[in-house]
Amino acid sequence: MRRMLRAWRDYWFRDTPLVNLAVCRILIVAVQLRWLVQQTYEYSASQPASLYNPLPILHVLLLPVGWNFQPDLAFLEAVHYMTLGAGLLALVGLFTNLGLGAFAAGNILLRAHAYSFGNFHHPDAPFMIALMILALSPAGGALSIDDLWRRLRRNARHVRFESARLLERTSPFAGWPLRLIQWILALIYLSAAYAKLAEAGSTGRTAIRSATTWYRMACAGAVKSVSGSAISTFWPKFWAGSPCWSREPSSSPYSSRPSHGSTYLPRRHSTWASR
């Protein structure tokens, strides 16, 4: 038992550079902010009440205003602007954890509301989970105003200037968020392969081919989209193209490219952590 606990601790809580987590924070928040600024809520706010079938997490988030409260347009827009503000705080790393928590909650509320009318899409869910996890992590421990302020105060106290030494600053709590995001993504992709195997019918060869094709597409998506998450956020032209494996037009920031590409960072993290 003790060995298992030690193995658990060594896996999840080994020292990891804080800068890894900070880079992920900036990229994930930037991608999410870019999506958020494009959102409008007229469509979901105008849906008939009979279609409103709130997701459980929406009930929970709306609990302070009532279990069965149905947000109207003004409410959604107020949440939108508060979430934008929280996202900017999270991006620059000012009151980082508070900002990340509010940003995660606001985004989850807005998406969960949009998905409470029988319409449901997959790609943004991993972003929501990643934001929740980052909110509980020392994501503001580097590349943030919080960290800059902390170091300035320390320098002033010691009357001595110390450089940032980004890669040398590690924490046992900086690795678990990225490993957990990595595991969540792996389980989601496992679900895709399992569904292929389970639902492809009795022709085993077709089923296995489908599953392995999907797996290859997932891996290719992650590798090819190394720059997808980051670059396409700042380069709108990227959004115009369709992902190479998808027949769907890629008109949304949540096209397969950035969401599959988002797997790259946590996967890459293993390499970073070993440096």
């Binding site: 999840w12 008939p48 009979s50 279609l51 998905y115 996890i133 709590f173 569904a195």
Partner: protein, 154 residues
């Protein structure tokens, strides 16, 4: 460290359950655990000769003529169209269907006294897909008295 370990374990368990695609208890569709999701996208295989359903809502006017009602006629997109009016007619839920009757009347000035759900399938062949024989899969009239036990509410 203990709290974070519990959080990690909880996340992994919830995601593993979601990935399994199991839907316990009263939950009838996948995203009840959202944002923890399964990902069975496009996993259903179709083979040569299979019919793929394409459902369309048909409005029945008082003079018994029929009018096709597309999702955009009701201000809906594809999935809300399936989960809203199409499901209401298939479940014989007049109260749910009447919402869409009113929306259509307000938007188009056309009164309907009933709905049908028409399936216009396509058949998969080696040469591509071809239209299959259309068939009515459900109908609902607002004039007839409700059959007992058939007024299913969602």
């Amino acid at each position: 460290m203990v709290c974070i370990s519990l959080f990690i374990a909880a996340c992994l368990v919830v995601q593993a359950v979601a990935s399994s695609g199991k839907r316990p208890g009263p939950f009838e569709y996948s995203p009840y655990q959202w944002p923890f999701i399964d990902y069975p996208m496009y996993s259903l295989a179709h083979y040569e000769g299979d019919e793929v359903s394409r459902l369309l809502l048909i409005g029945i006017r008082p003079d018994s003529t029929k009018i096709e009602i597309e999702p955009e006629d009701l201000g809906l997109t594809f999935f809300p169209y399936l989960h809203g009016p199409i499901r209401a007619v298939r479940d014989s839920s007049r109260s749910a269907a009447s919402v869409f009757r009113d929306i259509f009347a307000a938007g188009h000035g056309v009164e309907v006294v009933g709905f049908e759900v028409l399936d216009r399938p396509v058949v998969i062949t080696r040469d591509g897909y071809h239209p299959g024989p259309p068939k009515t899969v459900a109908s609902l009239s607002f004039d007839e008295p409700a059959a007992s036990g058939n007024e299913g509410e969602r």
